[in-house]
């Protein structure tokens, strides 16, 4: 099974073609190919060290592959210079795992910053846009707070608000649920789904949280590392339902916790299927 978004009848917004990636001697991918459909919520799953976050960094052009091509909104980012990449990045929003908000600026200034950099809006319009985004992620009275004064869940929501402040066409989210309590997980999950449905933004997120993945994803990409029988990185892609029904022993092992991460994942699967 390897259902690409094309096969599912949707336009491809982001595509990786035969990508090789290594950090020093450590080979992360060999011949990785996968695609993400426009306007859908896609989730990248995989074991620890399978390179899930690296996929997001490749899409954003933060790291360069040793071989292969990466198409983002029709442009091959592997062929672009750092300066040319800025044009593509204006179409992207990225929510980093730790938030990556500028810690010397208040939350308001963090959200206003990209608007001041890339638009000619006056301060009144900027204030309105910032508060609209903060309201959208359910944050109030945080304007004057520094990122260090927010809880983990609030920080992720502020980071999400910044990621969507320039109305990107693609939002990349790196582990948006890690380290959060179930209520915060549910809240972020709902926010991402709402943003996708209201604004039609393509969302590509990396997660370990299988329950959330099964609830919110329209398309799942499971990265399986190479072994003796499967040279190169294997990608199993499809809808959550298709993954659940897969007979591939490696997919079954991943989803039922025979490879990593203890009992939590099995509980996630059970919760996700209810």
């Amino acid at each position: 099974m390897n259902l690409t978004p094309d096969a599912a009848g949707a336009d491809v917004h982001v595509a990786l073609e035969r990508v090789d990636m290594a950090f020093g001697d450590r080979q992360v991918f060999r011949g990785l190919s996968c695609a993400f459909a426009a306007g859908k919520v896609s989730v990248i799953l995989g074991g620890s060290g399978s390179g899930k976050s690296t996929v997001l960094r490749l899409i954003g052009g933060l790291v360069r592959p040793q071989a292969g091509h990466i198409f983002v909104a029709g442009e091959d980012v592997t062929c672009l210079s750092e300066r040319q990449l800025y044009g593509v990045r204006k179409k992207l929003g990225m929510m980093f795992q730790g938030g990556a908000l500028l810690d010397s600026l208040t939350i308001y200034e963090n959200l206003a910053f990209p608007l001041r950099e890339h638009t000619s809006l006056d301060e009144r319009a900027i204030a309105a846009a910032v508060h609209r985004r903060l309201d959208a992620v359910g944050l109030t009275d945080v304007d004057r707070l520094l990122p260090s004064q927010l809880s983990g869940g609030m920080l992720r929501r502020a980071a999400l608000a910044r990621a969507i402040i320039l109305d990107p066409v693609i939002v990349l989210c790196d582990e948006p649920f890690s380290g959060l309590d179930p209520v915060s997980v549910k809240r972020i999950e709902n926010l991402l789904v709402q943003i996708n449905q209201r604004l039609g933004i393509t969302i590509v997120l990396v997660s370990h949280h299988i329950a959330s993945t099964m609830r919110m994803a329209e398309h799942v990409v499971l990265l399986l590392q190479s072994d003796d029988h499967h040279p190169g990185t294997t990608v199993v892609a499809g809808s959550p339902e298709e993954l659940r029904q897969s007979s591939d022993p490696r997919v079954v092992a991943f989803l039922t916790d025979e490879c990593d991460d203890g009992d939590a994942r099995a509980a996630d699967v059970a919760a996700g299927s209810t």
Partner: protein, 260 residues
């Protein structure tokens, strides 16, 4: 370790040195390009000057006064043996202006502001703030690095001038107040010995070069640090060590070439 292994290791260090030097040169070119192209980030630059300059004022003033006082005391004890204590103003002035002012200011600024700059940028690397800027289509060299490097370059001559002024004041206090030299004699000796163009401007030029060096090394070390707490710590330490050694080496080269 056998001779072959020693040569191999030496070769490895030599290659690493050349590699780092090449990267530093490219980094310096990127900073210059960022400074030469819009937007002009006045607010960020002013904040960086405050961080580097204003926050270093106390250490510079106190150290300058102390160095001037010691120099005056040592100078008097030496000069008095030859009956030349009337030249104390010239000795203190020339020592501070030509050598001690710019060098000690640069070493002090490296320890206080250079290490802080490397740690700040290194922390931004470790917490993905620089990647966050890149993903917002903002060049971190333009926003973070260039203003800090420029601020260090601009602030260093000013800090050095302040160090020298407080040093001369400390020297005056000890020479005139404690050792009983006539105040007019101290000042006229100082005035007649110090040449504005050769000594004062040369001293400020030296400080400008040191400022550029410290700014470049501190920002480069922070920018290329490993994204871990150990990486930030290593970047900070290496900034202080490398910048201090470079200041002393460049001091010799500038003095030998330009006679400053």
């Amino acid at each position: 370790m056998g001779p072959a292994a020693a040569v191999q290791e030496l070769g490895w260090y030599a290659l690493r040195f050349v590699d780092q030097l090449g990267k530093l040169t490219v980094f310096a070119a990127q900073i210059l390009r960022a400074l030469a192209s819009p937007p002009v980030r006045v607010r960020v630059f002013v904040q960086a000057v405050f961080d580097v300059g204003v926050l270093s004022l106390i250490i510079i003033c106190v150290s300058g006064t102390a160095v001037g006082m010691v120099l005056s005391l040592q100078g008097y004890n030496t000069l008095v043996r030859f009956g030349a204590e009337q030249s104390l103003g010239a000795v203190v002035g020339l020592s501070l202006i030509r050598e001690l002012g710019p060098v000690l200011t640069a070493l002090l600024a490296t320890g206080r502001a250079g290490s802080a700059t490397a740690a700040e940028i290194g922390t931004m690397v470790a917490t993905e703030q620089l990647d966050g800027l890149r993903m917002m289509a903002v060049d971190p060299i333009d926003l973070v690095v260039a203003p800090k490097a420029l601020a260090m370059t601009v602030a260093m001559p000013l800090l050095s001038a302040l160090f020298i002024t407080f040093g001369l004041f400390g020297g005056y206090l000890v020479g005139v107040g404690l050792m009983g030299i006539d105040g007019g004699t101290y000042m006229s000796s100082l005035q007649s010995a110090v040449d504005f163009r050769d000594d004062v401007l040369g001293s400020l030029l030296k400080a400008l070069v040191f400022g550029g060096l410290v700014g470049l090394i501190a920002t480069f070390r922070g920018f290329t640090s490993a994204p871990t707490s150990a990486g930030v710590s290593a970047a900070t330490t290496s900034t202080v060590v490398v910048a201090s050694v470079c200041i002393l080496l460049f001091d010799y080269v500038i003095t030998a070439l330009w006679g400053v």
